[in-house]
Symmetry: D2
Subunit: 358 residues, 4 copies
């Protein structure tokens, strides 16, 4: 009889519950990681609400911090007992997607046929990490050891929102001296703000309306924060840039208004770097798109994963170049995860991110 | 009293007529070029139909081949009597747009305020070249001498459709071994097909329905031509690529169906390189966009201009790497330009491009 | 008792001999490939001459074409009996080098400590493929199926010289309209010439002196061939480019004179793309380097490997975009390999590449 | 009779003296700028020592801060009385070099024939700005207005060493999470250190031996400073990186030992970004170059110029992202410039940069 563990499981639309499941078996290329800290992501809330379909019974969660409990027979270069993270996205390394530099799309399409929706596995196509244990596939490509000098909570953002937010800045190809606008300052937008600063943007305009998020945006590097309830952000950004527009606009929410505003504030030749997970068709207004003549581009990024990416994220934390641990506003035991979902999904009590400890 | 010349002038929606106008004056940085060959572009037809607004009385046309008649006092490095082309887009060289590598957007926004629609000047914001003479602004940045070995007609595509079509391939960052789909095989799509071949795409799938264009697509480098009236091009391309999709899709028409199909055929991580001049808002279907999770990008390109770009286009012609002179299917005198517009706008008689000689 | 096979083995400086060895065992991630065709590379001659040290008893050879004989227990996605190639360089997929896009350096440094010399394994750090069988490590990242439409000999250049030569063009970032000089037209230089053409260079100047190679250079795409025994190639290229210099110079021999000449013919801002395996220190003359003020760069490339790279090389062959099978000038049985080395090492009888068939 | 001004003039090897010269005439595309602050560069010391040849009688200096005194008849977009800087390198905008994105090489080769040494004009091929007035050529491409909020001294580094040092980081293509070594912490090395930090390097290792420079290196962003007199910097950096090496090494001195050490500390696939002005041939040791098999590159950068570049440098200052004004350690009147040269050339009194005010 297998040993059992606790795990947060998708039951049906509206219900993610803590349940008992067997501790996962692992194959030769896998690792079993005992989770010491994890968190809940906005995408998990999409799953909870039934907006993003997953199989019933799946363990949710894709942001693991933990200890290697067991290594597959084929895994070298790691030791049991090491403290590690793995990225939300777990590239195999050997796929065509990986070998052509697009590791985040490894496995894309295998679940939904040709309609690829990215290479996200944990808590999407395989069991995730809101549990006592998680199986990490392709462990040699995905485990990243954590420096003793930093705590679980300090590195908890690395697997997903930090890698995603920074990717927004990187895909935007931000250069020294750029002006950048970031639409929405939830956890991912805040990380995009930090990423824009880290890459040398000299003018960072953040857009939100929640006071705590606007305040946090400044701590992350925003020079100006526009409150979209007080003024039209497109007009405000036009004004702030003397009509020039921004070099890069980062969309970090996943809605038509933010997407459209991000397109409108671009200078000719600018880049809309899109991070949002959309749930509707999008409209590109003709004028915002300069009728196709403005040398604009729209680029989407899925969270880059793999151990090399995680190593870099950890370096940012260890070096103190960015400190994202302030994003954890609430802490729960795994036993309280339903309560944590309730708080997080309803954005109560100024929550940004929660830390869950089994 | 100024000397007079003939010029094709926009009078009102539906009417471009041959008229008499003074030969242009030139400033110190300009050149006066006597046109020996020019052509009509699809964009000119948009102007004719009133879909793209220009001032009444403007001389139309942006594809000049001719002889330097006179140089401004500040122009060095050229001689009167030299045979030259200038690009459809005429960057100044000294603007912020030029100096940050986005020369095609030089002057963008000066006409329509903040709603930039690209840096196109000839036949848009200044008098164009469907005339006996044209003033070329910023001549030192824009004149490109033509090798004696090639005819006017051989280089007539360089100023616009060749530079634009090739930009579709370049902005798509086509690599050796890529699979590329090109939607619509009008003059620009045909040049994009030639550009894709020139950059090393090994599988080129062209989409059109007009037999002569489908035939020409093969001459330009298409390996397969899909007739969109006979089969759904998205299904056909899925099938041709075993469900993988294409690395790069080039949109060369400017319509919702081609834009959407181009997005749908992309592999995860693929690039939609958009060349079309759109006249309506666009819709991005959620699934075609992988909900923002597919690492896809949409990039638009306006025709790159300037003498260095033109030099490269001329090199392609002189070296014989691509032969686009076959695109000229009909020839007219400038006196017959109204007839030429009628033929071209209505796509009669299998017309691809016309050559106009004053 | 293990089954035995024939293999070309390094014995000592000056001696590579055909010997009997056990057919390799394979691990769970490996494949055993029965070689149907392979070849000898210039690097193998360096090994033969003792200029490049390998362990005694090692099987030489890194260009395998063959049939999958057996798959490791962990390998999916391939079938025994499939005809495949693997690249000369065999990235694991999961290393830091691979995950940061530098797969050719996977394993670099593990053999010689910190003095990394690239991630080349076959016939360098593990047994190679001048044998009846070869073990392919990390098979899922490295096996590439061959289309039935093409012969072994047609794809024999893919694993090494084609991938390397094309990398010379790619690392040089050749653009449409570039002028490119390629120094030396041995097998790799010829592939670099083909690669330059495939990427859109419009002026290709090849340098060699052997008539058969100069002739082959033209077939591969050279517009001009400079015979360095008849004229100083630097002067000749200066003259051919009206003093401007070339955008990209590819060094494909590995000597001081070719390296230095490649640097001298660059325009300001140009790129020296270096493919040669050097055996001496190099000198950068101050004037050729513009004292460091010329925005020049020197970039080296090791042969890119992995199944995605191989897929692209195979696509080039299958599509007919480049035909390199003409490079095979001589054919031998594996039994005759010592004779083949003798011919190839001494460049007798106009040899370019040999095909070896067990 | 022309009005006269004071200017620092090269007389002969060893002598730059303050002299009287006519205030420059300007042409239609030029501006006359009244210098309010300027400085002396290491390159000027090369000129002084006769190591870098310029014409006798030339006014030296290429780092102008001042007020527009007069604009040429063809110059628009600026007003007399505006406070401006111009870059050390003054691209025209219209040259082939500019139009292909290599503006720093505009004019390269015009002075020394084909042996191009970059597009540097001020104090090299035309009169410079260690004077009361300077003629700025191609003013529309080169003048950048200064924000009132910052002082002359705060922006004095923008025209040259900041643009150069940052270019070292940019050409190295530093990415978030990179480890970077910078050899020599003179003014340019210090700016490279600041640039590396600004682009997201998380581990910055600076090498020098002068205590004040080592201290300043830490203020600019270095995490570790290696004193090359106390330990071998190659060994130290190997050790600091656990044998891995650095992603990017920046050479900021222009000598064989620093060049060679920079090459030796690179990881496989790393980039040596070279800023130094060399005065001897360079040697590339075979092992440091991995025999050409290490996917390493060596890239040189000349100071990028033009008004868009200057705008970005000014933005960095105005935004406070980097504060380089601390580099000015000594201040002189123009009348004292010979004294300033003496101090600076001999690196007395811990001098980093001097401010010269006419």
């Amino acid at each position: 009889m297998p040993q059992m563990m606790k795990a947060a499981v998708f039951v049906e639309k509206g219900r993610i519950v803590l349940d008992e499941k067997p501790i996962p078996d692992i194959g030769p290329q896998d690792a079993l990681v005992r989770i010491t800290t994890t968190t809940i992501c906005g995408t998990d809330v999409h799953i909870l609400k039934g907006e993003y379909p997953v199989e019933k019974g799946l363990t949710i969660g894709h942001e693991p911090v933990g200890i290697i409990e067991k290594l597959g027979s084929g895994v070298t270069g790691f030791q049991e007992g090491q403290r590690v993270i793995a990225g939300a996205i777990t590239p195999s390394g050997w796929s065509h997607a990986c070998l052509c530099g697009c590791g985040a799309q490894d496995g894309a399409g295998t679940r939904h046929g040709w309609k690829a929706i990215g290479g996200w596995k944990f808590g999407n196509t395989i069991d995730g990490c809101q549990a006592e244990y998680v199986r990490v596939p392709d462990a040699m490509a995905n485990l990243a050891p954590i420096d003793d000098a930093v705590s679980d909570e300090q590195v908890l953002m690395c697997p997903d929102i930090m890698s995603t937010g920074f990717a927004g800045a990187e895909t935007g190809q931000i250069k020294i001296g750029d002006t950048v606008a970031i639409f929405a300052q939830g956890p991912i937008g805040l990380c995009a703000t930090a990423g824009a600063k880290l890459m040398g943007a000299t003018r960072i305009i953040a857009v939100d309306t929640v006071p705590a998020r606007m305040e946090m945006a400044k701590r992350m590097g925003a020079d100006v924060v526009v409150d979209f309830r007080k003024e039209n952000p497109v007009d405000a950004i036009k004004c702030l840039t003397d009509g020039r527009g921004v070099d890069v606009a980062i969309e970090a929410l996943g809605t038509q208004p933010t997407f459209e505003a991000a397109l409108r504030v671009l200078r000719p030749g600018g880049v809309l770097s899109s991070l949002g997970v959309y749930s509707t068709d999008l409209k590109i207004p003709l004028d915002a798109f300069s009728a196709g003549l403005g040398d604009k581009s729209i680029r989407t990024s899925l969270c880059p994963g793999g151990k090399e990416r995680m190593r870099r994220m950890l370096e940012v934390v260890v070096s103190g170049r960015a400190d994202l641990s302030g994003l954890v506003t609430h802490r729960f035991q795994l036993d309280q995860i339903e309560e944590a979902y309730d708080l997080f999904a309803n954005q109560r009590d100024g929550v940004l991110k929660v830390a869950i400890t089994p």
